[in-house]
Protein backbone atom coordinates (compact mmCIF):
# COMPACT_ATOMS: atom_id res chain seq x y z
CA UNK A 1 0.00 0.00 0.00
CA UNK A 2 1.41 3.34 -1.00
CA UNK A 3 -0.01 6.71 -0.04
CA UNK A 4 0.47 9.79 -2.17
CA UNK A 5 0.88 13.38 -1.03
CA UNK A 6 -2.75 14.28 -1.69
CA UNK A 7 -4.00 11.39 0.47
CA UNK A 8 -1.67 12.36 3.31
CA UNK A 9 -2.91 15.95 3.10
CA UNK A 10 -6.49 14.67 3.27
CA UNK A 11 -5.80 12.46 6.32
CA UNK A 12 -3.98 15.33 8.01
CA UNK A 13 -7.01 17.52 7.49
CA UNK A 14 -9.32 14.79 8.86
CA UNK A 15 -7.04 14.60 11.94
CA UNK A 16 -6.95 18.43 12.14
CA UNK A 17 -3.17 18.54 12.06
CA UNK A 18 -1.45 21.16 9.95
CA UNK A 19 1.38 19.55 8.00
CA UNK A 20 3.70 21.89 6.06
CA UNK A 21 3.68 21.11 2.31
CA UNK A 22 7.39 20.38 2.41
CA UNK A 23 6.85 17.47 4.82
CA UNK A 24 4.03 15.72 2.95
CA UNK A 25 6.33 13.77 0.64
CA UNK A 26 8.53 12.25 3.38
CA UNK A 27 5.49 11.61 5.57
CA UNK A 28 3.82 9.76 2.68
CA UNK A 29 6.91 7.56 2.48
CA UNK A 30 6.92 6.80 6.22
CA UNK A 31 3.21 6.03 6.36
CA UNK A 32 3.44 3.82 3.26
CA UNK A 33 6.26 1.88 4.93
CA UNK A 34 4.04 1.20 7.94
CA UNK A 35 1.06 0.21 5.80
CA UNK A 36 3.25 -2.17 3.80
CA UNK A 37 4.47 -3.68 7.06
CA UNK A 38 0.95 -4.33 8.35
CA UNK A 39 -0.18 -5.94 5.07
CA UNK A 40 1.19 -9.26 6.37
CA UNK A 41 -2.01 -9.54 8.43
CA UNK A 42 -3.74 -10.68 5.24
CA UNK A 43 -1.86 -13.98 5.60
CA UNK A 44 -3.88 -14.79 8.74
CA UNK A 45 -7.05 -16.82 8.33
CA UNK A 46 -9.68 -14.84 10.23
CA UNK A 47 -12.78 -16.46 8.79
CA UNK A 48 -15.43 -16.63 11.55
CA UNK A 49 -13.01 -15.08 14.07
CA UNK A 50 -14.77 -12.36 16.09
CA UNK A 51 -12.95 -9.01 16.27
CA UNK A 52 -11.80 -8.49 19.85
CA UNK A 53 -13.86 -5.85 21.62
CA UNK A 54 -12.68 -6.43 25.18
CA UNK A 55 -9.57 -8.20 26.39
CA UNK A 56 -10.87 -8.59 29.94
CA UNK A 57 -13.26 -11.44 30.52
CA UNK A 58 -15.98 -9.18 31.83
CA UNK A 59 -18.85 -7.10 30.56
CA UNK A 60 -18.78 -3.36 31.01
CA UNK A 61 -20.46 -2.38 34.25
CA UNK A 62 -23.66 -0.44 34.09
CA UNK A 63 -24.59 2.44 36.33
CA UNK A 64 -27.61 4.64 36.86
CA UNK A 65 -27.75 7.60 34.52
CA UNK A 66 -27.65 10.30 37.13
CA UNK A 67 -25.51 13.26 38.11
CA UNK A 68 -22.94 12.23 40.74
CA UNK A 69 -20.33 14.90 40.32
CA UNK A 70 -19.89 18.53 39.34
CA UNK A 71 -20.34 22.03 40.64
CA UNK A 72 -16.78 23.20 40.19
CA UNK A 73 -16.67 25.11 36.94
CA UNK A 74 -13.65 27.24 37.98
CA UNK A 75 -11.49 24.10 38.38
CA UNK A 76 -12.73 22.70 35.08
CA UNK A 77 -11.85 25.96 33.33
CA UNK A 78 -8.59 26.56 35.18
CA UNK A 79 -6.41 25.08 32.44
CA UNK A 80 -8.22 26.71 29.52
CA UNK A 81 -5.91 28.82 27.31
CA UNK A 82 -8.69 31.43 27.04
CA UNK A 83 -11.80 31.59 29.21
CA UNK A 84 -14.40 34.24 30.08
CA UNK A 85 -17.55 34.38 32.22
CA UNK A 86 -17.43 30.68 32.97
CA UNK A 87 -16.91 29.60 29.33
CA UNK A 88 -14.09 28.56 27.03
CA UNK A 89 -13.43 31.14 24.33
CA UNK A 90 -12.89 30.00 20.71
CA UNK A 91 -12.64 31.84 17.40
CA UNK A 92 -16.00 32.93 16.01
CA UNK A 93 -17.81 30.02 14.32
CA UNK A 94 -21.02 31.70 13.08
CA UNK A 95 -20.92 35.11 11.39
Amino acid sequence: MSLDKATVAKIAHLARIKVPDGELESLAGELSQILTFVEQLNEVDTKDVPPMTSVAAQKLRRRKDEVTDGGYAPQVLSNGPETAEGFYVVPKVVE
Binding site: I11, L14, R16, P20, E30, I34, Q40, P51, Q58, N79
Partner: protein, 493 residues
Protein backbone atom coordinates in the same frame (compact mmCIF):
# COMPACT_ATOMS: atom_id res chain seq x y z
CA UNK B 1 25.14 0.81 56.58
CA UNK B 2 24.24 0.92 52.90
CA UNK B 3 23.90 4.43 51.48
CA UNK B 4 20.27 5.48 51.80
CA UNK B 5 19.86 5.74 48.02
CA UNK B 6 21.14 2.19 47.49
CA UNK B 7 18.57 0.55 49.73
CA UNK B 8 15.79 -1.61 48.42
CA UNK B 9 12.24 -0.66 49.36
CA UNK B 10 12.11 -3.66 51.69
CA UNK B 11 15.41 -2.58 53.27
CA UNK B 12 14.27 1.01 53.65
CA UNK B 13 10.99 -0.05 55.31
CA UNK B 14 13.03 -2.15 57.69
CA UNK B 15 15.40 0.71 58.51
CA UNK B 16 12.51 3.11 59.05
CA UNK B 17 10.77 0.65 61.34
CA UNK B 18 13.95 0.17 63.37
CA UNK B 19 14.48 3.95 63.53
CA UNK B 20 17.92 3.67 61.88
CA UNK B 21 16.98 6.75 59.87
CA UNK B 22 13.91 8.92 59.31
CA UNK B 23 11.78 9.38 56.21
CA UNK B 24 13.06 12.97 56.06
CA UNK B 25 16.67 11.74 55.97
CA UNK B 26 15.75 9.24 53.28
CA UNK B 27 14.00 11.95 51.26
CA UNK B 28 16.89 14.40 51.67
CA UNK B 29 19.36 11.83 50.37
CA UNK B 30 17.13 11.23 47.36
CA UNK B 31 16.58 14.93 46.68
CA UNK B 32 20.38 15.29 46.46
CA UNK B 33 20.49 12.27 44.15
CA UNK B 34 17.82 13.82 41.93
CA UNK B 35 20.06 16.89 41.57
CA UNK B 36 23.06 14.68 40.80
CA UNK B 37 21.32 12.94 37.87
CA UNK B 38 20.42 16.18 36.06
CA UNK B 39 22.91 15.55 33.20
CA UNK B 40 20.84 12.46 32.25
CA UNK B 41 17.68 14.52 31.70
CA UNK B 42 15.55 12.12 33.69
CA UNK B 43 13.20 14.53 35.45
CA UNK B 44 10.76 16.80 33.67
CA UNK B 45 9.61 18.30 37.00
CA UNK B 46 11.42 17.92 40.33
CA UNK B 47 9.28 18.30 43.44
CA UNK B 48 11.79 18.52 46.33
CA UNK B 49 9.49 20.59 48.55
CA UNK B 50 6.67 18.08 48.19
CA UNK B 51 9.13 15.26 48.90
CA UNK B 52 10.32 16.81 52.14
CA UNK B 53 6.87 17.74 53.41
CA UNK B 54 5.47 14.30 52.53
CA UNK B 55 8.45 12.71 54.31
CA UNK B 56 7.84 14.84 57.39
CA UNK B 57 4.20 13.76 57.45
CA UNK B 58 5.37 10.16 57.05
CA UNK B 59 7.62 10.39 60.09
CA UNK B 60 4.70 11.78 62.08
CA UNK B 61 2.45 8.90 61.02
CA UNK B 62 5.12 6.37 61.91
CA UNK B 63 5.62 7.96 65.33
CA UNK B 64 1.88 7.50 65.96
CA UNK B 65 2.02 3.89 64.81
CA UNK B 66 0.02 4.62 61.68
CA UNK B 67 2.62 3.89 59.01
CA UNK B 68 1.25 2.57 55.70
CA UNK B 69 2.73 -0.23 53.57
CA UNK B 70 4.96 2.17 51.61
CA UNK B 71 5.39 4.84 54.24
CA UNK B 72 8.40 7.08 53.65
CA UNK B 73 9.57 5.45 50.38
CA UNK B 74 10.70 8.06 47.83
CA UNK B 75 9.48 7.32 44.30
CA UNK B 76 9.32 9.02 40.93
CA UNK B 77 6.18 9.29 38.79
CA UNK B 78 6.12 8.86 35.02
CA UNK B 79 4.91 12.18 33.64
CA UNK B 80 1.85 10.48 32.20
CA UNK B 81 0.05 10.28 35.56
CA UNK B 82 -2.00 13.34 36.47
CA UNK B 83 -0.78 14.82 39.74
CA UNK B 84 -2.84 17.52 41.37
CA UNK B 85 -1.22 20.95 41.12
CA UNK B 86 1.97 19.53 39.56
CA UNK B 87 2.61 20.03 35.83
CA UNK B 88 1.74 16.94 33.78
CA UNK B 89 3.17 17.02 30.26
CA UNK B 90 3.08 13.50 28.75
CA UNK B 91 6.38 14.67 27.23
CA UNK B 92 4.42 16.81 24.79
CA UNK B 93 4.52 20.46 23.81
CA UNK B 94 0.73 20.29 23.44
CA UNK B 95 0.25 19.99 27.21
CA UNK B 96 2.26 23.16 27.94
CA UNK B 97 1.21 24.66 31.24
CA UNK B 98 -1.26 21.88 32.13
CA UNK B 99 -1.65 21.46 35.90
CA UNK B 100 -4.27 18.85 36.70
CA UNK B 101 -6.97 19.67 39.23
CA UNK B 102 -7.10 16.00 40.21
CA UNK B 103 -4.85 13.09 41.11
CA UNK B 104 -4.74 9.80 39.18
CA UNK B 105 -6.15 6.84 41.09
CA UNK B 106 -2.84 4.96 41.04
CA UNK B 107 -0.77 7.85 42.42
CA UNK B 108 -3.42 8.70 45.00
CA UNK B 109 -3.19 5.09 46.26
CA UNK B 110 0.61 5.37 46.48
CA UNK B 111 0.32 8.56 48.55
CA UNK B 112 -2.44 6.91 50.64
CA UNK B 113 0.06 4.16 51.47
CA UNK B 114 2.73 6.69 52.46
CA UNK B 115 5.00 6.95 49.39
CA UNK B 116 6.92 10.21 48.90
CA UNK B 117 7.00 11.98 45.52
CA UNK B 118 10.37 13.09 44.14
CA UNK B 119 9.01 14.41 40.87
CA UNK B 120 7.80 13.59 37.36
CA UNK B 121 10.07 11.70 35.01
CA UNK B 122 10.61 11.65 31.27
CA UNK B 123 9.02 9.36 28.69
CA UNK B 124 8.43 9.18 24.97
CA UNK B 125 5.82 11.73 23.94
CA UNK B 126 2.40 10.32 24.90
CA UNK B 127 4.19 7.04 25.73
CA UNK B 128 4.71 6.36 22.02
CA UNK B 129 8.20 5.00 21.65
CA UNK B 130 10.84 2.53 22.76
CA UNK B 131 13.74 4.74 23.74
CA UNK B 132 12.62 7.91 25.61
CA UNK B 133 13.96 10.13 22.86
CA UNK B 134 10.80 11.72 21.47
CA UNK B 135 9.70 14.01 24.33
CA UNK B 136 9.50 17.74 23.77
CA UNK B 137 11.72 18.01 26.86
CA UNK B 138 14.52 16.04 25.19
CA UNK B 139 15.98 12.55 25.42
CA UNK B 140 16.87 10.67 28.58
CA UNK B 141 20.35 9.14 28.75
CA UNK B 142 20.79 5.82 30.52
CA UNK B 143 23.13 5.73 33.54
CA UNK B 144 24.55 2.64 31.79
CA UNK B 145 26.17 4.89 29.16
CA UNK B 146 29.95 4.38 29.22
CA UNK B 147 32.03 7.40 30.21
CA UNK B 148 31.43 10.34 32.52
CA UNK B 149 28.17 12.34 32.43
CA UNK B 150 28.32 14.85 29.59
CA UNK B 151 31.39 13.15 28.08
CA UNK B 152 29.82 9.85 27.08
CA UNK B 153 31.41 7.61 24.46
CA UNK B 154 27.96 6.49 23.41
CA UNK B 155 24.69 7.81 24.80
CA UNK B 156 22.78 4.63 25.55
CA UNK B 157 18.97 4.75 25.57
CA UNK B 158 17.07 3.86 28.72
CA UNK B 159 14.37 2.18 26.66
CA UNK B 160 10.84 3.43 26.50
CA UNK B 161 8.42 4.69 26.88
CA UNK B 162 8.96 4.53 30.69
CA UNK B 163 12.66 5.35 30.22
CA UNK B 164 12.81 8.09 32.85
CA UNK B 165 11.31 5.68 35.39
CA UNK B 166 13.86 2.99 34.52
CA UNK B 167 16.82 5.39 34.48
CA UNK B 168 15.97 7.01 37.80
CA UNK B 169 15.96 3.71 39.71
CA UNK B 170 19.03 2.35 37.91
CA UNK B 171 20.88 5.58 38.79
CA UNK B 172 19.86 5.19 42.46
CA UNK B 173 17.88 8.43 42.53
CA UNK B 174 14.54 6.82 43.51
CA UNK B 175 13.61 3.53 45.17
CA UNK B 176 10.88 2.89 42.63
CA UNK B 177 8.85 4.56 39.93
CA UNK B 178 5.50 4.22 38.26
CA UNK B 179 5.43 3.14 34.64
CA UNK B 180 2.83 2.44 32.02
CA UNK B 181 2.93 -0.30 29.43
CA UNK B 182 0.97 -0.29 26.16
CA UNK B 183 3.26 -2.52 24.08
CA UNK B 184 6.24 -3.09 26.37
CA UNK B 185 6.85 0.35 27.84
CA UNK B 186 7.53 -0.97 31.35
CA UNK B 187 9.27 -4.26 30.52
CA UNK B 188 11.60 -3.14 27.72
CA UNK B 189 13.12 -0.19 29.66
CA UNK B 190 13.39 -2.42 32.74
CA UNK B 191 15.29 -4.94 30.61
CA UNK B 192 17.52 -2.20 29.17
CA UNK B 193 18.47 -0.79 32.60
CA UNK B 194 18.81 -3.95 34.71
CA UNK B 195 15.69 -3.21 36.74
CA UNK B 196 12.43 -5.01 37.46
CA UNK B 197 9.17 -3.98 35.80
CA UNK B 198 5.70 -5.51 35.88
CA UNK B 199 2.82 -4.94 33.54
CA UNK B 200 -0.13 -6.34 35.50
CA UNK B 201 -3.18 -7.96 33.94
CA UNK B 202 -5.36 -5.52 32.01
CA UNK B 203 -7.89 -4.23 34.54
CA UNK B 204 -5.71 -4.66 37.66
CA UNK B 205 -4.63 -1.01 37.91
CA UNK B 206 -7.02 1.84 37.32
CA UNK B 207 -6.36 3.88 34.20
CA UNK B 208 -8.24 6.87 35.64
CA UNK B 209 -6.11 10.01 35.57
CA UNK B 210 -3.43 8.50 33.33
CA UNK B 211 -3.03 10.33 30.01
CA UNK B 212 -4.50 7.84 27.53
CA UNK B 213 -2.59 6.42 24.57
CA UNK B 214 -4.36 3.19 23.53
CA UNK B 215 -7.03 2.46 26.10
CA UNK B 216 -7.54 -1.25 25.37
CA UNK B 217 -3.81 -1.88 25.90
CA UNK B 218 -2.63 0.70 28.49
CA UNK B 219 -1.81 -0.61 31.95
CA UNK B 220 0.16 0.95 34.81
CA UNK B 221 2.72 -0.96 36.83
CA UNK B 222 5.67 -0.66 39.21
CA UNK B 223 9.36 -0.37 38.31
CA UNK B 224 11.85 -1.22 41.05
CA UNK B 225 15.28 -2.70 41.67
CA UNK B 226 14.10 -6.04 43.09
CA UNK B 227 11.22 -8.43 42.62
CA UNK B 228 10.28 -8.09 46.28
CA UNK B 229 10.05 -4.31 45.87
CA UNK B 230 7.87 -4.79 42.81
CA UNK B 231 5.54 -6.92 44.95
CA UNK B 232 5.37 -4.18 47.59
CA UNK B 233 4.65 -1.42 45.11
CA UNK B 234 2.25 -3.43 42.95
CA UNK B 235 -0.01 -4.04 45.92
CA UNK B 236 -0.41 -0.31 46.48
CA UNK B 237 -1.03 0.42 42.80
CA UNK B 238 -3.71 -2.24 42.18
CA UNK B 239 -7.34 -2.22 43.15
CA UNK B 240 -10.85 -1.76 41.87
CA UNK B 241 -11.81 1.74 40.79
CA UNK B 242 -15.38 2.55 39.77
CA UNK B 243 -14.03 5.54 37.81
CA UNK B 244 -12.38 3.21 35.26
CA UNK B 245 -15.01 1.18 33.39
CA UNK B 246 -12.48 -1.59 32.64
CA UNK B 247 -11.18 -1.85 36.21
CA UNK B 248 -11.74 -5.36 37.55
CA UNK B 249 -13.42 -5.82 40.91
CA UNK B 250 -11.08 -8.37 42.41
CA UNK B 251 -9.35 -8.52 45.79
CA UNK B 252 -5.69 -7.46 45.76
CA UNK B 253 -3.51 -10.22 47.18
CA UNK B 254 -0.48 -9.64 49.41
CA UNK B 255 1.94 -10.17 46.54
CA UNK B 256 4.93 -10.30 48.88
CA UNK B 257 3.50 -13.41 50.53
CA UNK B 258 3.69 -15.17 47.15
CA UNK B 259 7.48 -14.99 47.16
CA UNK B 260 8.05 -18.44 48.61
CA UNK B 261 10.82 -19.48 46.23
CA UNK B 262 9.02 -22.79 45.72
CA UNK B 263 8.41 -23.46 42.03
CA UNK B 264 8.74 -27.24 42.14
CA UNK B 265 6.62 -28.92 39.51
CA UNK B 266 5.66 -25.63 37.87
CA UNK B 267 5.40 -25.97 34.09
CA UNK B 268 7.34 -23.24 32.27
CA UNK B 269 6.30 -22.70 28.65
CA UNK B 270 9.03 -21.94 26.11
CA UNK B 271 7.44 -20.56 22.93
CA UNK B 272 9.33 -21.76 19.87
CA UNK B 273 8.11 -18.80 17.80
CA UNK B 274 10.15 -16.43 19.98
CA UNK B 275 13.38 -17.71 18.42
CA UNK B 276 13.00 -14.94 15.87
CA UNK B 277 15.38 -13.96 13.12
CA UNK B 278 17.76 -11.32 14.42
CA UNK B 279 17.74 -12.63 18.01
CA UNK B 280 21.28 -12.09 19.23
CA UNK B 281 23.28 -15.18 20.15
CA UNK B 282 23.97 -13.94 23.66
CA UNK B 283 20.27 -13.39 24.32
CA UNK B 284 19.50 -16.84 22.99
CA UNK B 285 22.15 -18.23 25.36
CA UNK B 286 20.76 -16.25 28.29
CA UNK B 287 17.29 -17.59 27.57
CA UNK B 288 18.67 -21.16 27.63
CA UNK B 289 20.43 -20.31 30.89
CA UNK B 290 17.14 -19.04 32.31
CA UNK B 291 15.47 -22.35 31.46
CA UNK B 292 18.32 -24.15 33.29
CA UNK B 293 17.89 -21.96 36.40
CA UNK B 294 14.20 -22.79 36.58
CA UNK B 295 14.87 -26.49 36.02
CA UNK B 296 17.40 -26.48 38.86
CA UNK B 297 14.69 -24.98 41.08
CA UNK B 298 12.40 -27.88 40.23
CA UNK B 299 10.29 -26.40 37.44
CA UNK B 300 9.54 -28.33 34.27
CA UNK B 301 10.17 -26.68 30.88
CA UNK B 302 7.55 -27.38 28.23
CA UNK B 303 7.76 -26.38 24.60
CA UNK B 304 4.70 -24.40 23.57
CA UNK B 305 3.52 -22.79 20.36
CA UNK B 306 2.17 -19.27 19.91
CA UNK B 307 1.69 -19.43 16.14
CA UNK B 308 0.46 -15.87 15.60
CA UNK B 309 3.36 -14.18 17.40
CA UNK B 310 4.82 -12.83 14.16
CA UNK B 311 1.63 -10.91 13.43
CA UNK B 312 1.41 -9.18 16.80
CA UNK B 313 3.44 -6.12 15.85
CA UNK B 314 1.41 -5.52 12.71
CA UNK B 315 -1.87 -5.83 14.63
CA UNK B 316 -0.50 -3.54 17.34
CA UNK B 317 0.52 -0.87 14.83
CA UNK B 318 -3.06 -0.68 13.62
CA UNK B 319 -4.93 -0.99 16.92
CA UNK B 320 -2.75 1.33 19.02
CA UNK B 321 -2.65 4.20 16.49
CA UNK B 322 -6.39 3.81 15.86
CA UNK B 323 -7.14 4.23 19.56
CA UNK B 324 -4.54 7.00 19.85
CA UNK B 325 -6.07 9.00 17.01
CA UNK B 326 -9.34 8.95 18.91
CA UNK B 327 -7.85 9.57 22.39
CA UNK B 328 -5.66 12.44 21.22
CA UNK B 329 -8.56 14.23 19.53
CA UNK B 330 -9.09 15.98 22.87
CA UNK B 331 -5.99 18.17 22.40
CA UNK B 332 -7.70 20.96 20.52
CA UNK B 333 -6.34 24.15 22.08
CA UNK B 334 -9.64 24.83 23.85
CA UNK B 335 -9.62 23.17 27.26
CA UNK B 336 -5.98 22.86 28.27
CA UNK B 337 -2.43 23.15 27.06
CA UNK B 338 -1.04 24.81 23.99
CA UNK B 339 -3.09 27.02 21.69
CA UNK B 340 -1.88 28.45 18.40
CA UNK B 341 -4.34 30.99 17.05
CA UNK B 342 -5.80 30.84 13.55
CA UNK B 343 -8.44 32.75 11.61
CA UNK B 344 -11.18 30.15 12.12
CA UNK B 345 -11.90 27.49 14.72
CA UNK B 346 -10.68 24.83 12.29
CA UNK B 347 -7.45 26.75 11.60
CA UNK B 348 -6.88 27.11 15.32
CA UNK B 349 -7.29 23.32 15.78
CA UNK B 350 -4.94 22.54 12.91
CA UNK B 351 -2.31 25.10 13.95
CA UNK B 352 -2.40 23.97 17.58
CA UNK B 353 -2.13 20.26 16.75
CA UNK B 354 0.45 20.90 14.00
CA UNK B 355 2.72 22.74 16.42
CA UNK B 356 1.94 20.70 19.54
CA UNK B 357 2.53 17.10 18.45
CA UNK B 358 5.98 15.69 17.72
CA UNK B 359 6.79 13.64 14.63
CA UNK B 360 6.14 10.14 16.04
CA UNK B 361 2.84 11.16 17.62
CA UNK B 362 1.76 12.85 14.40
CA UNK B 363 2.72 9.73 12.44
CA UNK B 364 0.61 7.50 14.68
CA UNK B 365 -2.40 9.82 14.69
CA UNK B 366 -2.32 9.91 10.89
CA UNK B 367 -2.03 6.12 10.58
CA UNK B 368 -4.87 5.75 13.08
CA UNK B 369 -7.03 8.24 11.23
CA UNK B 370 -6.36 6.43 7.96
CA UNK B 371 -7.16 2.90 9.20
CA UNK B 372 -10.40 4.15 10.78
CA UNK B 373 -11.49 6.16 7.74
CA UNK B 374 -14.41 5.13 5.55
CA UNK B 375 -13.47 2.31 3.19
CA UNK B 376 -10.47 1.11 5.23
CA UNK B 377 -12.04 0.29 8.59
CA UNK B 378 -12.76 -3.36 7.75
CA UNK B 379 -9.56 -4.00 5.81
CA UNK B 380 -7.29 -2.67 8.54
CA UNK B 381 -8.93 -2.09 11.90
CA UNK B 382 -11.34 -5.02 11.97
CA UNK B 383 -8.73 -7.36 10.50
CA UNK B 384 -6.28 -6.34 13.22
CA UNK B 385 -8.89 -6.97 15.91
CA UNK B 386 -9.56 -10.43 14.49
CA UNK B 387 -5.84 -11.20 14.55
CA UNK B 388 -5.80 -9.94 18.13
CA UNK B 389 -8.44 -12.53 18.99
CA UNK B 390 -6.27 -15.27 17.45
CA UNK B 391 -3.26 -14.09 19.47
CA UNK B 392 -5.36 -14.28 22.64
CA UNK B 393 -6.52 -17.78 21.66
CA UNK B 394 -2.87 -18.83 21.19
CA UNK B 395 -2.17 -17.92 24.81
CA UNK B 396 -5.38 -19.57 26.08
CA UNK B 397 -4.27 -22.77 24.35
CA UNK B 398 -0.68 -22.52 25.60
CA UNK B 399 -1.74 -22.06 29.22
CA UNK B 400 -3.48 -25.45 29.06
CA UNK B 401 -0.02 -27.03 29.13
CA UNK B 402 2.01 -24.54 31.17
CA UNK B 403 1.68 -22.23 34.19
CA UNK B 404 4.03 -19.44 33.19
CA UNK B 405 5.99 -18.56 30.04
CA UNK B 406 9.67 -17.57 29.83
CA UNK B 407 11.07 -15.45 26.98
CA UNK B 408 13.69 -12.75 26.48
CA UNK B 409 12.45 -9.19 27.16
CA UNK B 410 13.99 -7.61 24.05
CA UNK B 411 15.84 -8.99 21.01
CA UNK B 412 19.07 -7.08 21.77
CA UNK B 413 20.91 -5.03 24.40
CA UNK B 414 20.05 -1.31 24.42
CA UNK B 415 21.17 0.75 21.45
CA UNK B 416 22.71 4.22 21.40
CA UNK B 417 20.82 7.42 20.77
CA UNK B 418 21.00 8.09 17.03
CA UNK B 419 20.83 4.41 16.06
CA UNK B 420 17.68 2.79 14.60
CA UNK B 421 16.15 6.23 14.11
CA UNK B 422 15.58 6.37 10.35
CA UNK B 423 13.13 3.56 9.87
CA UNK B 424 10.03 3.53 12.11
CA UNK B 425 9.42 -0.18 11.45
CA UNK B 426 12.97 -1.07 12.58
CA UNK B 427 12.33 0.83 15.83
CA UNK B 428 9.04 -1.01 16.36
CA UNK B 429 10.90 -4.38 16.32
CA UNK B 430 12.29 -3.64 19.81
CA UNK B 431 8.87 -4.57 21.10
CA UNK B 432 8.49 -7.88 19.28
CA UNK B 433 8.49 -9.94 22.52
CA UNK B 434 6.39 -7.60 24.62
CA UNK B 435 3.58 -6.46 22.31
CA UNK B 436 1.70 -9.82 22.10
CA UNK B 437 1.14 -9.72 25.88
CA UNK B 438 -0.69 -6.38 25.76
CA UNK B 439 -2.84 -7.63 22.90
CA UNK B 440 -3.81 -10.60 25.07
CA UNK B 441 -4.22 -8.50 28.24
CA UNK B 442 -1.90 -10.77 30.26
CA UNK B 443 0.43 -9.95 33.16
CA UNK B 444 4.17 -10.04 32.43
CA UNK B 445 7.40 -8.86 34.01
CA UNK B 446 11.02 -8.27 33.11
CA UNK B 447 13.73 -9.45 35.49
CA UNK B 448 17.44 -8.57 35.18
CA UNK B 449 19.27 -11.72 34.11
CA UNK B 450 22.77 -10.69 33.08
CA UNK B 451 24.97 -8.36 31.06
CA UNK B 452 25.80 -8.55 27.38
CA UNK B 453 29.32 -8.56 25.93
CA UNK B 454 28.97 -4.77 25.63
CA UNK B 455 28.48 -4.55 29.41
CA UNK B 456 24.83 -3.53 29.05
CA UNK B 457 21.92 -5.21 30.86
CA UNK B 458 19.78 -8.04 29.55
CA UNK B 459 16.39 -9.06 30.90
CA UNK B 460 14.19 -12.12 30.78
CA UNK B 461 10.42 -11.84 30.51
CA UNK B 462 7.87 -13.95 32.35
CA UNK B 463 4.26 -14.08 31.18
CA UNK B 464 1.43 -15.26 33.41
CA UNK B 465 -2.21 -16.27 33.30
CA UNK B 466 -4.76 -13.47 33.73
CA UNK B 467 -4.67 -12.15 37.33
CA UNK B 468 -1.92 -14.57 38.32
CA UNK B 469 0.72 -11.96 39.14
CA UNK B 470 1.60 -14.07 42.18
CA UNK B 471 3.08 -16.92 40.13
CA UNK B 472 4.84 -14.37 37.97
CA UNK B 473 6.48 -12.76 41.00
CA UNK B 474 7.38 -16.10 42.58
CA UNK B 475 9.14 -17.31 39.43
CA UNK B 476 10.63 -13.87 38.84
CA UNK B 477 12.35 -13.94 42.19
CA UNK B 478 13.80 -17.39 41.45
CA UNK B 479 15.30 -16.00 38.21
CA UNK B 480 16.55 -12.91 40.05
CA UNK B 481 18.30 -14.97 42.71
CA UNK B 482 19.84 -17.41 40.24
CA UNK B 483 21.07 -14.61 37.96
CA UNK B 484 22.36 -12.61 40.92
CA UNK B 485 23.23 -9.55 38.82
CA UNK B 486 25.22 -7.26 41.11
CA UNK B 487 26.80 -4.96 38.52
CA UNK B 488 26.02 -1.26 38.93
CA UNK B 489 25.73 1.21 36.06
CA UNK B 490 28.86 3.35 35.40
CA UNK B 491 27.03 6.24 37.05
CA UNK B 492 25.11 6.07 40.32
CA UNK B 493 23.97 9.05 42.35
Amino acid sequence: MTALTHLTMAGALDGLAKKEFTAVELAEAHVRAVEAVRPFNIFITETPDAALSMAKASDERRAKGEAGPMDGLPIAVKDLFCTKGVATTAGSHILDGFKPEYESTVTSQLWRDGAVMLGKVNLDEFAMGSATITAHQGETVSPWSPGAPGAWDRKIVAGGSSGGSAAVIAARAALGATGTDTGGSIRQPAGYTGTVGIKPTYGRCSRWGIVAYASSLDQAGPMTRTVEDAAIMLRSMCGFDPKDSTSVDLAVPDFRAALTGDIRGLRVGIPKEYRVEGLSAEIDALWTQGIEWLKEAGAVPVEISLPHTKYALAAYYIIAPAEASSNLARYDGVRYGLRVEGGSLSDMYENTRGAGFGREVRRRILIGTYVLSAGYYDAYYNKARQVRTRIKWDFDEAFKSCDVILTPTAPSTPFAIGEKMDDPVQMYLNDVFTVPINLAGLPAMSVPAGLGADGLPLGLQLIGRPFDEETLLRVGQVVEKAANVTALPPFVA
